[in-house]
């Protein structure tokens, strides 16, 4: 087990390094840097001004050096301007150049400075992640029980009318991407054209004070898309368990049907959905980005769009580190949990 974990952690580390390097490479391509310089300075900058801006800020160094600086294994770039003032990534405003540390990458806990929000990256990420965490918590609270109930009800009597209608329902859920269901929900429940106006079409106010009126629609929008998929997996695994020998034995012994479902079948039927729920996290990130854009909820997904749209390199790097870690950790949890839930599988 320890060896398995170590190996997995090693692979995860390599994956994370590769992925962040790819993001770093793409954000540091010359046209992107040029755009960054122009948004920082002004849009009518000459090529020379752009180049001197890039040079001053250390963007013209070789890619590997820049990446090393970002990680914190190479001393970071410094620039002395005409008046002898030293500026650099490590030197905070109001700090003396001599006192500033030489290394300041993510290993030293310095995530950099966002060029869009004009704030340290770690502050932004922390704040936005907390907001998205709140959203995700309620999504999970709605999605997981909903999907399991749907799936178990459909799968316990395969081929019945309940099964058919619930299966069709979950197929329709998976066929409705967030940007379609979000638009439909806003149209039905919050527009003045239909006139129901039960909920609010934006969730901006939910960032401070979440209540049913401003938070339900975004939560439901994300939850529905994932719910269909998990419900289908639960149904398949439930249907398979219900045909197995020990269920037949229990029925022949005269155990009542609710008892069979609750006590005998459920635990085994939940193994596959557990993995699926864990693997849904990366896809939920997609949903989060879309829903936060539609409902104007300024969380992590919204930050991703802002950072990517403005080529805010350090913020974008932090965003990708966080999302890659989320993906990899959930994969690991799903693998380990699978082994615990299903003792028949051994780690090799």
């Amino acid at each position: 087990m320890a060896f398995f974990l170590l190996r997995r952690l090693g692979v995860m580390l390599i994956t994370a390094i590769c992925l962040t390097f790819i993001v770093f490479f793409m954000t540091n391509l010359h046209p992107n840097l040029e755009k960054l310089a122009k948004t920082q300075g002004n849009f009518r900058m000459t090529d020379e001004a752009v180049n001197s801006f890039l040079e001053r800020n250390g963007y013209t160094q070789p890619l590997a050096v820049k990446y090393g600086e970002w990680i914190g294994v190479l001393p970071s770039h410094r620039d002395t301007d005409d008046e002898g003032k030293v500026t650099g990534r490590c030197i905070q405003p109001g700090m003396d150049a001599e006192e500033a540390p030489e290394y300041c990458g993510i290993l030293q806990g310095n995530w950099g400075y966002s060029t869009v929000f004009k704030e340290p990256v770690e502050d932004i990420i922390g704040k936005r992640l907390a907001l998205t965490g709140k959203l995700m918590f309620w999504v999970m609270m709605l999605m997981v029980p909903g999907a399991l109930i749907l799936g178990v009800l459909a799968g316990m009597r395969e081929g019945s009318r309940t099964d058919r209608s619930l299966s069709t329902l979950s197929i329709s859920m998976t066929a409705t991407p967030e940007y379609v269901s979000g638009v439909l929900f806003i149209a039905i429940f919050s527009s003045s054209a239909v006139g129901l106006k039960w909920f609010k079409g934006t969730a901006t106010s939910a960032m401070e004070d979440a209540n049913l009126e401003n938070f339900l629609l975004p939560v439901v929008t994300i939850a529905l898309y994932g719910m269909g998929y998990i419900a289908r997996m639960t149904r398949a695994s439930m249907a398979e368990v219900m045909t197995s020998q020990y269920i037949r034995t229990a029925r022949l012994k005269g155990v009542s049907f609710p008892n069979i479902v609750m006590k005998h079948a459920l635990r085994n039927a939940l193994i596959a959905p557990f993995t699926v729920i864990m693997l849904q996290f990366p896809w939920l990130l997609n949903g989060v980005v879309i829903v936060e854009t539609i409902f104007n909820y300024k969380g992590f997904g919204w930050t991703l769009v802002q950072a990517a749209g403005n080529n805010d390199i350090e913020l974008l790097m932090a965003v990708s580190v966080v999302s890659v870690i989320v993906v990899l950790v959930t994969q690991l949890i799903s693998d380990i949990g699978y082994v615990y839930l299903n003792p028949r599988i051994r780690l090799s």
């Binding site: 046209p31 069709t168 638009v183 054209a193 990366p282 974008l316 890659v324 993906v327």
Partner: protein, 398 residues
Amino acid sequence: MEPLSTFQVILKILLILTPVWIGLAAIFALSITYKRRLGLFGKLFDSPIGMIGFALVMFWVLVAVMGGPLDMLVTHDALGQVSGMKNKVPGTPLAGAEEGEYAWYLLGGDNLARDVFSRVIKGSWIVVQIAPLATVFAFMVGITLGLPAAYYGGKLDTVISFLANLILAFPVILLFYLLVTPEIVETGLPSYMAMCLFVFPLIFLFLLLNSKFHTRPALRTPLLIGVLGVGLWLYFSLISDKGTPVSFMPSWLDLFDIPGGILVIFVSVVFVNSPTVFRIVRGLALDIKTRDYVAAAQTRGEGAWYIMLWEILPNTRGPLIVDFCLRIGYTTILLGTLGFFGLGMPPESPDWGSTINEGRKLLSIYLHPALPPAIALLTLVLGLNLLADGLREESLKD
């Protein structure tokens, strides 16, 4: 002229779509008549769910083909703006309609005074063109890499699987934002990726034909020269585009130019989809390679690629066909996502994602510009999912 009532709008739309209904009826009549001779496709007509799915998909395919290249169903120019029609509700008569023009905006006008109905129909052609083709390419890439990874195993498997997992761990939206921006297009990165990805269908075709016919050189050589010749020509025409760094073909030889944004979208959608296909193919092939008929072929001394492509691949067709339908639906969703974030597509493009994004900004007052494309996308993807479900059910029966 009087505005149309809701009932009249529906009636008019049904009437305009007459050719689609005729086409659908013909397809269904033919398929049901000959369903016993059509194999898996024919069996689809035994399952009501599969039939509904097939009907939805065929509806959009017919609408797209008739509305797109044939230019039949559209009532107005999808890009044309008519003054006085801004945000008008469905059924509004056209302001200052001339002789020969269609007299109403059946589904109203959007915030740039364009006809919503025509835009939805034009948008369907974009989806129906790109989604299946991109899925085919993703399958070619996934199959060409997945089969050897499973068959040979070992280091090859480790390396390719690692790369696939790498792409899979990438948040899709971030990837799109990184790939599909004008700045990245300027560097030519998508064009180079297109060069790499689009070579896979050629490799696939070459391996497929060569492994089957290499014992008959008299047939194989001309066949390969013909197929690969045409394939290479198409390949070079596809990747060589004016205005991108990859532009080497003289224009008289270049068959077609893909409009800049479309190629990038195409590449990124293929790129995102192929690792998943790879994983599915690899999983299926790992299972099938232990079967007796594979061992028999190995004993006969068949080549590795023959076994992979002519023994293993045909036996994975059931799950692969089902996944193919699902994946087209998923690709449609991805295309919508791209349009929704305004990535890649030109701003006035009538594709569904962009239209939904434009419409949602005024959603609290005007519903009609956003709802038709949303419902269109929903029904198409639903159709594909139901079709896949029907196929799965029928293929499990025997």
